[in-house]
Assembly symmetry: C2
Homo-oligomer: 625 residues x 2
């Protein structure tokens, strides 16, 4: 436990979080904030990126006394290599998730599973046509076979460019080709990044950074985009629907199951099992009023977008959800799942179940989900949760507050439909300055910040300035809890946004999904650019990840910038030890790819700086600022 008492009021802006932090303290449960305190101060070499462990001639640390590693690498090379591997971890996360989706599509197409099916045939055919697969007079499953094969090839070594390059504005395609960063294959770029960063390979920081961009573009325009599109095909393309958020979605009188992770392949089956009469009856038999399923993080986003399932919380709420004492079972797939959840669960009666061989947790129960047994395994999990209901100590249960309403489900298809089938109304609103720009606010929490303070305040400030905000991932819950994901929130927006969103009956902050769904934002930007006949970098758009923590967030930021989208981060990645790399990130990239990073921890200042950028882009397009 922490040595110095934490000031709980300073840790989060939310009452539900503070209440659970007090309960955790009382219950003797260690949280991320305690561990952050133990781990502070952080190693300055690591934080500035100048520590190298890439070979055993080291480890080396760059300082004035020792300006080069044993091999001769200087700070620039070391920082670039570390950053390259960092974003590669993120790109690999999203993309390997995408691969699992393709495997499901392949299994469905080849009749190898009865547990999954094509839910959106129209989208299957549309996407197939888009990547050049003939659909005329063909059975959907035949088309699905070809689409799965094409998508697998997007991970291979034989393509010169990924399939969704067809979505990228021509100017940008040309720019990437000139820079040698056209993404060829997801796994190939990942493997090459790992190769380049081996000792004695790529020793030019700018060259390494360009391949980092290429690797991330493969994530954005292939790995993540494929994950999103295939998930829509298999589980349905999201449409607007209502849902609720915060810890209040956990029910005192019900069996509570939380899903956590990223891939809907597990959680969709859990949802089906939860609704089976047999299990509802069993839960009642055990004394519960029913079975309650709620989401955390991106698996939660996936279920909320498509099914309206409520969300208990974002990254820093995952431990605190268990601290309610009312969670029978948390079932996870992969990514962003704090290893501490096993320990937190063991302080209560909460069982942790892992489902993927690639993400096991010491101390958790492993119920392996495969294509052919998804339903069977889901039923096992639900039964296990119900059995644990009797072990709950109701005296230790404390569930804070009431959930907040939100509206979710804004896929690009849904947005187009809301706009009457064409982007023209949006473009007209942008041209007229009623919507001055669009900003995607995405990503995580990080205990180094007051929880959700930046996420919420940046969102609020931008809509005040008539900037439409799109949220995904953990920012969704922040915006939702702040009451910004409902049409009524137009009260908090500027007059232009108020008018447009009011007329359309949509919130001024649009929920577009999970973190792989940032690919939806890429696609929207490309659609707008193509419609206007400009490059993405000409648009009055920006991205932001105010409270990011993960390699995936850094990969997203990098593919956003390399796609031409100015990107704000609340704090820098570990690159400050190299002037070359830091300058490239903060300005040099603007010359190369028409966008760069902005680092600013203060959400109010960040809003102003993003606004400046949007003004300059509007002016360059000949629009009023």
């Amino acid at each position: 436990m922490a040595e110095k008492k934490l000031n709980i009021d300073e840790l989060s802006i939310w009452d539900d979080a503070k209440q659970m932090l007090r309960k955790a303290e009382k219950d003797g449960v260690e949280t991320a904030w305690d561990r952050l305190q133990q781990q502070s101060p952080h190693c300055q070499f690591g934080e500035s990126g100048v520590c190298c462990r890439i070979c055993t001639m080291g480890p080396c640390r760059i300082s004035k006394k020792a300006p080069r590693g044993v091999c001769g690498a200087d700070a620039d090379v070391i920082v670039a290599r570390n950053f390259g591997r960092f974003v590669t971890g993120g790109a690999a996360g999203h993309s390997d998730h995408g691969r699992d989706c393709i495997e499901a599509l392949h299994a469905v197409a080849h009749g190898e599973t009865a547990d999954y099916s094509i839910k959106d045939t129209e989208k299957l055919l549309r996407i197939a046509e888009e990547v050049g697969i003939s659909t005329e007079n063909r059975e959907p499953l035949e088309v699905a076979k070809d689409l799965a094969a094409d998508f697998f090839e997007n991970y291979g070594s034989t393509k010169g460019e990924v399939s969704f390059i067809c979505r990228v504005p021509e100017k940008r395609q040309k720019l990437w080709a000139e820079l040698g960063i056209t993404p060829r294959g997801v796994d190939r770029e990942i493997a090459e990044m790992m190769h380049r960063t081996h000792m004695g390979c790529d020793n030019d920081a700018a060259n390494t950074m360009l391949h980092a961009a290429r690797t991330c573009l493969a994530d954005g325009w292939a790995g993540s985009m494929i994950a999103t599109e295939v998930s829509d095909i298999l589980f349905g393309t999201p449409t607007p629907r209502k849902a609720r958020v915060n810890l209040g979605v956990i029910k005192k009188d019900q069996v509570n199951i939380l899903v956590h992770g990223h891939n809907p392949i597990v959680s969709e089956k859990i949802l089906e099992a939860v609704n089976e009469a047999e299990f509802i009856a069993l839960a009642k038999e055990k004394g519960a009023a029913g079975i309650n399923l709620a989401g955390l993080c991106c698996t939660g986003n996936e279920l909320m977008m498509r099914q309206g399932i409520p969300m208990a919380g974002n990254h820093l709420m995952t431990e605190l959800a268990i601290v309610t004492g009312a969670v029978e079972l948390i079932v996870v797939d992969y990514q962003c799942i704090m290893p501490s959840l096993v320990q937190v669960g063991s302080c209560y009666h909460t069982k942790m179940v892992t489902t993927a061989d690639k993400a096991r947790f010491t101390g958790a129960e492993h119920i392996k989900f495969e294509m052919h047994n998804g339903m069977e395994q889901a039923r096992k999990v639900v039964r296990m949760a119900i059995e644990r209901y009797g072990m709950r100590d109701q005296a230790r249960v404390e569930i804070p507050g009431e959930p907040v309403d939100i509206v979710t489900g804004f896929s690009n298809e849904a947005i187009l439909q809301a706009l009457g089938g064409s982007l023209d109304p949006l473009i007209e609103a942008i041209k007229a300055g009623k919507i001055r720009g669009v900003v995607g606010i995405v990503g995580c929490n990080n205990p180094k910040y007051k929880h959700d303070y930046c996420n919420v305040n940046l969102t609020r400030e931008l809509i005040k300035k008539d900037i439409l905000v799109i949220v995904t991932g953990c920012v969704t819950i922040a915006a939702g809890k702040a009451g910004l994901l409902v049409p009524e929130a137009i009260d908090q927006a500027g007059p232009g946004l108020q008018e447009i969103c009011g007329a359309l009956g949509i919130p001024p902050v649009i929920h577009m999904g999970s973190c792989v769904d940032n690919a939806r934002i890429l696609q929207l930007c490309a659609l707008l650019a193509n419609e206007l006949g400009v490059d993405i970098s000409d648009l009055p758009v920006a991205a932001s990840s105010p409270e990011w923590y993960s390699e995936k967030a850094a990969a997203i930021g990098t593919y956003a910038v390399a796609s031409g989208i100015y990107t704000h981060l609340g704090h820098p990645p570990n690159i400050t030890g190299s002037e070359v790399v830091a300058n490239l990130a903060l300005s040099g990239l603007d010359d190369l790819v028409g966008a760069c990073f902005l680092i600013e921890p203060d959400p109010f200042k960040a809003a102003d700086l993003i606004d400046e950028r949007i003004k300059s882009k509007r002016t360059a397009l000949g629009l009023g600022a």
Copy 2:
């Protein structure tokens, strides 16, 4: 420069190295040893593997005070994740090199290059048959098309197992399947390893270590093996030939060009250009007696194995080769090329030329080699070297000693031929205890050790014990300089080895190639096991990398162990901070895969321990110890 004067006599066992270290000191040239001194003492967190920089909630360091990172990961998880990424860097290096070889084969097969061709058609057809490609009545280039396509698929997502699984003894295949570590696709395992090690994914150290094994198996039995086999097809399968080693191969009166890196695709073209009459005439015109090409590290091994080109030195000799002052140009492809070479070169007249976009060096000249322009670019490089001859200051030239003779070129095909077409004589010699076992000594140098002391002494000790030694990579030059790579070296071997090698006219230490060519050793072990009807782990064989430094060496060690080969390392990877991981590496793996690591810095003790292991394997096979 170093603060404390280095004791040069303690740094290397070689006179050529010591002489150049003294010259470097006099010339004010910084070397790896100076930088090692500046970087000492190393960070203990990094060295024991308990430092985590995988997300920006950290960096975190595990200690008694802080036993878990901010996310909750403990030392076991952190060490396993770091080790997983470490070997993945190595697997990616070898395998991306293999991909480049396939691209060359593909280009040749599809008539896209006139600069490369099939040099060993017999091997092309044999390998094609081996992986199930029909060759009957087909043109070799047609077969080559299919083989390239099959090999590309070995990097993809659609295969359940890599093609060369057909070489693996059945018992081992079954074991891998049971453990879930059958390698499926090279890039896929690499990407999955990066995914698993993202925050919140794989949080079970043993599970992560198993995937590390799988990733390395994909390197050994696909990436590296493909690199070796395709290189043989394109440039010829090595046959025994004479060559010479040490810095004495550099010529005072000639234009000296050094090739360094790993892939023969560049160096083979340089060799051709060097032999062109036009350039020899030009060199003479400039006052040189001719053009001298010599190798460093594994590109050197590749050229020596196939063409008998001399080797100037191994890893720690690369800087010192330039210190001779007689090197006009060093041309590199990728891997293990110290970034410092640019600086060392700039202290003399030595030009450094890079050839691969994936390995650029700030300050070097970039001449990009592509499939269609290999010869053209090679001629540019050779012309550039000749032009620089006039810039050489002969007063600063100092080339130590005379080269040492060696015999090289022992591919498995060559060994089989030497044995009369069958492994029977080798098996009979093993059964009779004349050859008590076989040990592959491979890998690098590391300035933490007295240069080549362990490499040479372990080799000497093992042959004394009638253990046949196979060398690759940087150990080759060590063994060569020690006079162990000639038939006359049987004088230093035990009586059994003396008899057998004497009868065959081969050295007691066999040079099998570069570091990707460790795949030849895997294949030889598999051939022996299959012939005897046992698993590889039953054989009286071992591997060793006494002075390793690189991620590739760790990947090789891991695939060796996972293939059933007991493997000695002179020092541990950065895993000592986790008992779980260290115990797994040092003993637990023995139960799982029938082999484990041995860590022992003393070459004499290591020889005894390896000998013990070989005795126990011989006994278990019912052979005399």
